[in-house]
């Protein structure tokens, strides 16, 4: 049911004039994708520096919360640009993305990464500042940092997988995979 609704919505988006303009314009698509990928260096770059600090791998002599506070603004700026360009990229090729297993896993990992970031932030604010100057953060924060690193590596990897066609609707016959990828027509045909 949800797959049908998503596909209908994707078809509606794809029929829009601006969606077609984005995908047919060679430079508009390339600029969007390039901006989306290059902003990784600001958003994920800043995030990884914060996570690495929690693990004691970089700047161990600078208070961890100072690193997190100072890099917060560039990181959020990067993520905002990534989300805007990401939404436009999906808007340009909605049917392809809605029926991509990798895109769906990416969205799931993104959701998990944000939940983890929210918990991590809450734990960092709640913890008393006695650990702040320590070389490594307390175990719960270190765990949060490792989970964050893994989830974001997964997000980048899934983003990279999207253009590949290994599990495209017309290439798989496994019903679970077809359902997970949202291949409505192929599922109906079985």
């Amino acid at each position: 049911m949800i797959n049908e609704l998503l596909l209908q919505f994707a078809h509606w988006l794809e029929a829009q004039q601006y969606s077609q303009m984005l995908v047919s314009g060679y430079y508009s698509w390339n600029w969007l994708e390039a901006t989306h990928v290059l902003t990784l260096m600001i958003s994920i770059g800043s995030l990884f520096i914060i996570d690495f600090r929690m693990l004691g791998w970089v700047l161990p002599n600078v208070p961890a919360t100072t690193i997190a506070d100072r890099l917060h603004k560039p990181m959020i700026t990067g993520f905002v640009i990534m989300f805007i360009t990401g939404i436009l990229l999906v808007y340009a090729k909605p049917v392809e993305n809605v029926q991509s297993l990798w895109f769906r896993i990416k969205m799931l990992l993104l959701l998990l990464a944000f939940v983890n970031a929210w918990i991590f932030n809450a734990k960092m604010r709640a913890a008393d500042g006695s650990w702040d100057a320590d070389r490594v953060a307390p175990k719960p924060l270190r765990t949060g940092a490792i989970i964050s690193l893994c989830l974001w590596c997964g997000v980048v990897a899934m983003g990279r997988f999207i253009p590949y066609d290994w599990v495209d609707c017309d290439k798989v016959s496994n019903t679970t995979l077809l359902w997970a990828a949202g291949c409505v027509e192929q599922l109906n045909a079985i």
Partner: protein, 194 residues
């Protein structure tokens, strides 16, 4: 003369490198080397195990590509922290010496990872990238960036307290570094479109 050279080693070294590059270009050495590189690129794609892995297993290639992107993102993070501190935009309450020294190891590790994963990615499409102008621009910028970081920026920043260095030199270092690494990343992205 000797005292002048020893006092200005880095400046003289940089001038010599520039002179050599100009001479190589003027004498068309680069143009004569280029055709000779084609067999190596063909070997990399068709005969090396890197090329075999990259062309046979698409999932391995895509995973290594993701690793390349992550390495570049970490390079971006270290550049952002260091250069924005030198420009006085970020971490203004922390001495820039601490930020510079504290992120350099991370930069080196991620640079090695980016180069290693980059060689794998290039091996899979070596016969295509050889003919791409943007690929060669990226390689030259990467070489320039690595030399700039290892032989100019880092030695200068670690040689003395930053308060003793002309603030405009610090800003120039930061802007140059940002421009170089942005070009490396942007040309890398453009290889995918070519």
């Amino acid at each position: 003369m000797i005292s002048f050279l020893s006092l200005n080693r880095r400046t003289v070294g940089l001038a010599v490198i520039l002179l050599v590059v100009i001479l190589l270009e003027a004498l068309e050495v680069r143009a004569s080397i280029y055709p000779g590189l084609l067999p190596y690129f063909e070997w990399l794609k068709n005969s090396s195990w890197l090329g075999y892995l990259g062309t046979t297993y698409g999932s391995v290639y895509a995973t290594v590509e993701a690793g390349h992107l992550i390495s570049m993102a970490v390079i971006g993070g270290t550049i952002l922290a260091t250069d924005l501190r030198l420009l006085g935009v970020l971490f203004r309450d922390i001495p820039s010496e601490i930020i510079t020294a504290g992120t350099f190891k991370c930069f080196k590790v991620s640079l090695v990872c980016a180069i290693a994963t980059g060689i794998f990615c290039a091996a899979g499409v070596a016969d295509k990238v050889y003919y791409m102008e943007v690929f060669w621009i990226k390689m030259l910028t990467l070489l320039t960036g690595s030399c700039f970081m290892i032989f100019i920026k880092q030695p200068l920043l670690s040689s003395r307290p930053h308060s003793e260095i002309n603030p405009w030199i610090l800003r120039l270092l930061a802007v140059t570094s940002i421009l170089i690494w942005f070009t490396v990343a942007a040309t890398g992205r453009w290889i995918g479109f070519s």
